[in-house]
Symmetry: C2
């Protein structure tokens, strides 16, 4: 795309959505056909499989090395988190999150009656000392974290911090909810253990195919201790009867045909240069700002210095053809009451890069830099 065109168009640094060109509609069509013509072609159209399409649960069970009864597949992971919250949050309970964290998760926990408190996120994950302070005050129902390529921060939790969480969950007695939808989208470096690997008895692992195949399919899953998954499955049945089985069977077929692996490779090839473009643009145009350099996922984020011109940023950005997400939505209640979360939120800018071309990213970051300059 010629620069002249990019320089006049609106640039959307808003939701963390896959690139449209990365959505495998032709391959999925083939998979749906195979399912509907196959031995389960009528089964997936009938009532049943309330915990999700059993053969897909079996595949995930193998992948995570648990029995299939510990896997619940639903219509997207947000819905499973909502059900989990319904079971585990009593009105007035505290839920801890990283600060900032996924806005819809914070909202979900609040709607189910929790007081959601954010623990500062550093470039290597949650601040453990601050977390311990919070735990000393009150045991939460659970701690919700996104250990890999965090949304919105983009940071990955260090191995030492993962171990610390695993230990603290035992010491204080609370659930660790690890939300790992981006984990497989690693463009460089090596994977660190899941919290599940370190403390399976205390860990609820939540993930989905939204970033790896398609968000519209709404195929998310949850892995946890047997008793909890049983109760969740029963609540899911009472609420939705069963998830949409046809798309779950199509996802399994996508794996079986080898498309998952090749599609993942294509996604990495498409997204890695976009991440690099984001990092380069930030280093070029906002060289005074330190930020965590992600090795995967969908997001880079920056916290603007206090002395920058961040006031009324969203509306000024829009006028300049740059659409940003309201940073304050990612912030829960502060642990220390005197902390100015509002100002932190106003200075927080999330940059989802996957659905933008390198040219758009360069232009978008340039516009941002101009807007916040004093």
């Amino acid at each position: 795309m010629p620069t002249s065109q990019v320089s006049s168009e609106q640039i959307l640094f808003t939701r963390g959505v896959p690139a449209m060109e990365a959505l495998p509609n032709t391959l999925l069509s083939e998979c749906v056909q195979a399912v509907l013509a196959g031995p389960d072609g009528k089964t997936v159209l009938q009532y049943g499989h309330n915990g999700g399409y059993l053969p897909l649960r079996r595949m995930l069970a193998e992948q995570y090395d648990v029995p299939p009864d510990q896997v619940l597949v639903g219509n997207g992971s947000l819905h499973l988190q909502d059900l989990f919250s319904a079971l585990t949050i009593q009105p007035g309970d505290v839920v801890l999150t990283e600060q900032p964290s996924y806005d819809r998760a914070i909202k979900t926990f609040r709607r189910r009656g929790a007081r959601v408190i954010g623990i500062p996120l550093e470039h290597d994950g949650i601040n453990i000392a601050e977390l311990e302070k919070a735990l000393a005050k009150q045991t939460p129902s659970f701690l919700y974290v996104i250990p890999d390529f965090q949304n919105p921060g983009g940071v990955t939790m260090s191995g030492a911090k993962r171990q610390a969480l695993a230990d603290l969950a035992d010491r204080y007695g609370f659930w660790l909810v690890e939300d790992v939808p981006y984990r497989t989208l690693r463009y460089s470096g090596e994977s660190l253990p899941l919290l599940r690997d370190l403390n399976p008895a205390r860990t609820i692992t939540v993930s989905s195919y939204s970033k790896l195949i398609s968000p519209g399919l709404r195929v998310g899953y949850l892995i946890g201790p047997l008793d909890l998954v049983k109760r969740l499955t029963s609540l899911a049945e009472d609420t939705i009867l069963a998830p949409v089985l046809l798309v779950q069977a199509a996802v399994l077929e996508f794996h079986k045909k080898g498309y998952f692996t090749s599609n993942l490779e294509s996604l990495k090839q498409l997204y890695a240069p976009r991440l690099q473009a984001t990092i380069s643009a930030l280093k070029t145009h906002m060289s005074d700002i330190s930020f965590a350099e992600p090795e995967g996922g969908f997001f880079v984020s920056v916290t603007l210095p206090e002395q920058s011109n961040y006031h009324n940023l969203l509306s000024r950005a829009k006028d300049a053809g740059l659409v940003l997400t309201d940073g304050t939505a990612f912030f829960a209640d502060p642990l220390n009451e005197n902390e100015d979360v509002k100002s932190l939120g106003e200075r927080f800018v999330r940059l989802p890069f996957c659905a933008l071309t390198p040219e758009q990213i360069e232009e978008g970051v340039k516009r941002l830099a101009q807007l916040v300059e004093r």
Copy 2:
């Protein structure tokens, strides 16, 4: 099927499920292919359309003569009822239902904090005098009814009773929730007006494609006043982001290709003789019992006389190769405290006939008759 084979097999008079042979897997495969190869082939795989696939909402809006903003399409109607309950029920509120009513609906309203009170169902619908008694005591959040071919009763509400409900909703100020998934499956007689036709401002219409195309697709919808649908759509977005769009687009395609009409005709041709077989078998083997003769839908039901041998019926039936649903699950709290709802429930037998052959139905009713004989 030879009688000898039927007489030895287990007969499942349990859930109201479509016949497996009626599930149109081949036609749906064609529809999904058309969607994924068409102009919205990538759109349905992306985030968006939080209130449901907009072109399907538009079609339903036309069908029900409302603007598309008054239509919300979700993952099955039970989920929409759960969301509606979340918005309208405050803990301790009363919700009224027909007695008996759909067990999962009763459970959903209770889980959202309602006291659910059942108003006796007669052969022409809810008992209006008893309903007025209940309304005089306390205004409910809503009255939930299944006016056409009721689940589990099989009865259809008369025109006069529909008008009475429309009037009472205005006089006392409560929502009418009409659940009409069976309405289109009329095998004889003429349709009566929807409650929506009589009092649109007070009516929430809920329906789905589970009985008309496939339950596994989980495509249900809700039609209501604009402000309420807006709030429901926002709650739906917070809970599930969006429903599964691909199956909703496939349903629209199913309509566009003319398959909906031809499939409905096939369903009626398959199910009408099964309804007739149920009615005949009851008249032959249980001639002393009066029951409502449905003109459509999935269910015939009988209430066994007090003097019949109904004790421990479920387990005795199972031993005799007849699987029945627990009748007590269909009964909410009684309006009059001295009413023996438990005994009523134990004597209530629902007979879902669609997934059984006429031979299986004849044999099943014969077994039932023998079991309850004194």
